[in-house]
């Protein structure tokens, strides 16, 4: 099995990279919608 792993190390690393990308897709937090009220413009007068 180790020789098979060593022989296929490049495609296996590609699979691991796909896993990292999928992990980022799955676990990264979506951008939070803005919840704060917009700052009110102060009246200069």
């Amino acid at each position: 099995m180790l020789s098979l792993l060593a022989f296929n190390i490049v495609p296996l690393l590609v699979a691991a990279l796909i896993g990292v990308v999928a992990g980022r897709w799955i676990f990264s937090q979506p951008a939070a919608p803005p919840t704060d009220k917009p700052a009110e413009d102060k009246d200069p007068s």
């Binding site: 590609v14 699979a15 796909i18 896993g19 990308v21 999928a22 676990f27 979506p30």
Partner: protein
């Protein structure tokens, strides 16, 4: 309309992409056949070193496998060896890449594609774990 995809759906899509990449490397690119060719050459060198005329070895081809199929005239001692001397089974079984040895051409062998895809899925899961470590949601600090 459609809600956000669940984590399991995303993980399944990623796994399918990784397995497709593993299959492309194994089949169309030819890594599977190249591995079997190389392993078969090692097994043949072991049989040649044993010096038994008429004994032949070949790896599974349909489907590709890591099982070495031996054939030819060899008695039990030549096949199994004894406590001091390794027989053909031990020699060929010790060749790099050989997973099993059989004298039965109809014996079942684990297809190489199954082993390759299992390894691919394992590496995908490792990558997924790395992705979780670096991209998981973190609690906000209290300071």
């Amino acid at each position: 309309m459609h809600g956000p995809m669940s984590r399991w759906t995303k993980a399944s899509i990623g796994l399918a992409v990784a397995l497709a990449a593993g299959w492309i490397a194994h089949g169309p690119i030819g890594r599977g056949a190249a591995f079997v060719d190389r392993t078969e050459a090692y097994a043949r060198a072991e049989v040649a070193a044993a010096g038994l005329p008429g004994v032949q070895v070949g790896l599974g081809r349909d489907p590709l496998s890591r099982t070495a199929f031996l054939s030819g005239p060899a008695n039990d001692f030549q096949r199994e060896g004894n406590g001091w001397e390794v027989g053909l089974n031990g020699r060929v079984g010790g060749a790099p890449g050989v997973a099993a040895v059989s004298w039965d051409p109809a014996a079942r062998a684990v297809p190489l594609i199954a082993e390759t895809l299992a390894l691919t899925a394992f590496f995908y899961l490792i990558g997924l774990g790395v992705g979780w470590v670096f991209f998981r949601p973190r609690r906000q600090g209290f300071l």
